[in-house]
């Protein structure tokens, strides 16, 4: 069965980023120079070729763009300067949009108006809810838990997390469906999914593939960011009642200490990304879409506003504390819901899952080969 060449895919994907893969003359330099690419998963040229020929189904099935960490080697050394790394980035955006069943992702990625609109709506919802649901504003001292009841907030967090989880998991499930298409082959047996699950945990926690780039400073920075971010996420979603207290602990108390460290980690990590995007020093920062800006900006705002709440609280400035708190919630809403499962944030899950799926695929292939080579049962 021949594959029919379709010129439209490239035009479509061009909406997701500054790419010019048409410049590529398929020399293979990028794939061979890539420290993350190997014979089982040779990329990025294979993906670029899919774009050139319009092999949409193949690209949907491919998880290779997620295996790329934008080391930039390919782009630096490309003889035609066709920027394969940016192409991978753009394909990740496109894939995110394809995984997202709501269709919102596509709008957010391809339209600045939609992005800003979504942020405004998210902010308005939080502000309206805050206006309607906030408790009394105690002004003589800071009583945050009175202003925003910690149980209510925790419930809200949990609802938010559930919502986030629902979108994420449903998108992840679509990713799974695309990656293991029904039809031609049997999907890998469940046993392999289970035995390879450790890969998922490992890569989610360490992002160790990122470290395989020649320059691994970015990996360290990213790890710091994820650590800070992950810590905060766990604190807020699971331990809000411990974290959000009106009682002022000494500065060395874990509650404050963890909070500060995590916030600083976020500021450091996302600040690094932002500075990179502003100075455009690294390959990956040369072209920035609105989504690339929003993510670190919101992260940094989140951390700063969190620190500010703490600072105002410690300084005994109740009104500022409450307002900042609302602001903090606005940022959180924007981050989790508006650009969360539909946007860049989701790579947090797609990447480790892609590594995991890839491991499953490889194991399954070995498994299939073993079956094919097994002696036929004697009847």
């Amino acid at each position: 069965m021949s594959t029919r060449v379709d010129p439209s895919l490239l035009q479509e994907i061009k909406k997701y980023g500054e790419i010019h893969v048409e410049d590529c003359f398929n020399c293979g330099n990028c794939t061979a120079v890539c420290p993350l690419s190997n014979s089982n998963t040779p990329f990025p040229r294979n993906n670029i070729r899919m774009l050139q020929l319009g092999m949409k189904d193949k690209l949907l099935e491919s998880i290779d763009p997620w295996l790329c960490y934008y080391c930039g080697e390919c782009t630096i050394t490309c003889p035609r300067q066709a920027d394969p790394a940016e192409a991978q980035m753009t394909m990740r955006r496109w894939l995110t949009a394809q995984y997202d069943w709501t269709g919102l992702s596509k709008k957010l990625y391809t339209s600045t108006a939609w992005s800003i609109g979504a942020l405004i709506i998210g902010a308005l919802i939080v502000i309206l809810l805050a206006l309607g649901l906030h408790g009394p504003l105690v002004t003589n001292q800071v009583e945050l838990n009175t202003f925003a009841d910690v149980h209510m907030m925790h419930t809200a967090d949990l609802i938010l997390a559930a919502l986030l989880g629902f979108f994420l998991l449903s998108n992840l499930f679509r990713m799974y469906l695309f990656t293991f298409p029904r039809g031609a082959q049997n999907p890998p047996p469940l046993s392999i999914f289970i035995t390879e699950a450790w890969q998922l945990v490992l890569h989610m926690l360490t992002q160790k593939r990122f470290g395989e780039c020649e320059d691994n400073k970015r990996w360290i920075n990213h790890l710091i960011l994820v650590f800070g971010y992950g810590t905060m996420f766990v604190l807020i979603v699971l331990f809000l009642s411990w974290f959000q207290t009106d009682e002022l602990y000494p500065i060395y108390h874990p509650q404050r200490l963890i909070g500060y460290v995590a916030a600083l980690a976020i500021i450091y990590g996302s600040g690094d990304a932002l500075i990179g995007r502003i100075t455009k020093k690294h390959q990956m920062h040369r072209y920035s879409q609105i989504s690339d800006w929003l993510f670190p900006i919101l992260l940094i705002l989140l951390a700063i506003s969190g620190l500010m709440i703490s600072a105002f609280r410690v300084s005994g400035l109740p009104i500022l504390t409450y307002y900042t708190y609302v602001g903090h919630l606005v940022v959180m809403m924007m981050l989790y819901i508006c650009i969360g499962p539909m946007g860049k944030w989701a790579h947090l899950l797609y990447r480790p899952f892609a590594v995991y799926f890839q491991a499953v695929k490889e194991k399954a292939e070995e498994h299939n080969k073993a079956i094919a080579h097994a002696p036929a049962p004697v009847s």
């Binding site: 021949s2 594959t3 029919r4 060449v5 010129p7 048409e22 590529c24 003359f25 050139q52 035609r80």
Partner: protein, 672 residues
Amino acid sequence: MTEKTNPKPEETKIGVYVCYCGGNISDVVDVEKVAEKMREHPNVTIARTDMSMCSDAGQSIVENDIKELGLNRVVIGACAPSLHEHTFRGTVARGGLNPYFFHHVGLREQDSWVHSNNPGGATEKAIRLMYAGIAKANLLKPLDMIKLKAERHALVIGGGVAGLRAAYDIAGRGINVTLIEKTPFLGGRMAQLETVFPTGNNAREDLHSLINEVRTHPLITIHTLSELVNIRGYIGNYDVQIRSQSRGVSGDNAEAALAACTQEVPDDFNYGLTKRKVVYRAYEGCFPSTPAVDWEHYDGKPIEIDGQKVIFENKKKTFDLRIGAIVIATGFQPYEPPRGDYGYDELPEVVTLPQFIRHMGLRDGNVGELTWKGHPVRDIAAIHCVGSRHLAGVHEPQPDGILNNYCSRVCCTATLHQVNELLDEYPNINVYDFYEDIRTYGLEHESYYTEASKKMVRFLRFHGDQRPEVVAAPEGDTHPVLVKGKDYLTNGLEVEVPVDLVILAVGMVPRPVDDLVDMMKIPKGDDRFLLEVHPKLRPVETPVPGIVLAGTAQSPMNIQESCNAASAAAAKVAVLLAAGQVELDPYVANVDLDKCEGTGACIEVCEYEDAIVLETMTVEGKEVQRAVVTPANCSGCGNCVSACPHHAIDVQGWEVAHYEAMVDAITMEVEI
């Protein structure tokens, strides 16, 4: 060595030199051993070896040996005599010897290169051949070159860009030129192009700047509708006969005849895409501007012009010229695929690149959409190497039995150039390019490839033995034609590309010039193109002195390369004719009057007019008839030699006695 049958040679002092040829000979032949054996020969004064005899240092050795050792014969074993015999004659002359006291033995092309599997045998053979050379050298006599006046007049055959360039450059050196063109109009293939790489200039505008220079040059005479029908003579003094056809119409009635003519034939200028009248101009602005009658197709019926019925008449006339040198610039024709190949001639959507270029040229100005046979064109496939790079055992040879196994050199850049121009005008068209290797080799050519990529041309790579197929799309498909093939940029994926038009990037084949080849006795290569003597030593010369090659008659070339080759050909002609005199090898018949008895047997077998005659002379008081040779008329074939019952005639430098001595040497047992 024993001398039985040979005349005893005079006291000869022979210098023998065996060349390593930079390894070409010494890799196989034990060169030192050969020299060692030569030293055993009684006539050999010195035998040496050298890494390269032809180098200045190597030649100096010979010169010095002649002077210091008093050598009077030189034998050099080296590459083929065709390459360096001339060089070494110069060396010997500088040493102070008559240049014909030299014999060249080919130890490379006819020994080391053909016996690489048998070094021992090759060494033995080298010794044998060198001994034969010495045997001949013993018998050599001093000779002088024959000096003849050379006609400062060149004939250029072909009025395409190469012919025009050559004519202009030769005339620029102050030499008369006659340019003949078979068709009624100048310009050749270049006139059929639109824009040309790497300048993007209009081909006909560029061409006309050259045509104008040529036609206004006082030393150049142009004959269109003319061809060479006969040639005799030799370098500097060729007698050529040229036959011209008439244009059929003249200035007075030309326009009226053009208007009145109704008979139409396929227009070869547009590769049959359109029709034209049998009274025609090749294109608007062509030179000469007077229309001409297409005699091949004219049905001979009268045409009514200004109320008069006129039948055009082809008044052929021939004329003779004396010419010093000839430039062959007969050009190429595009390869025409056999019917059905890639759907050519079967599917209306399949065209060759030259046809497509004409199609682009034929559009009326401002066209918003590209159409082909009335249908809009949205998707185009280009297929490279059609008629080029064929593989033995995979592709069928051409009807003449020759496989087009060469690269046609220009098609890659020409195709991409054309596609880029197309996409400038119609950016929404999708182009798919099926290639084997993209050969945009020139300085500015690669940028055409880059540009095509930037313009979203999609490249698909096939393997030479698995070329793409062009098939009609099934009923109801979105496009009329499918191009199918394996794409080796995508793991050998089977792909199909639906398109509205397929462009075949056809290669070049030489224009058939067998008549010239037969008349002039010039060689053709394995690929049918005319063959030069040596690609580096004498890249535009044929083995026939005074006949040189220009442009695509020799091999595929682009315009730049054709013009360079043509200018190079002009330089060779200038070298030959600038002095107004040529020197010929003195290899002509020579009568030994002591032996001649005036039988006239020689004259009976001689085919050259006035080369040999019987003259009356007085010998020992008696009036006798004796044969006398006129060197300028003698070709040196030797017919007369075997005819003479008294062995009284020989070809100078190539005497029967030389051969007998060489046979003696060859049959001698060599111990090594």
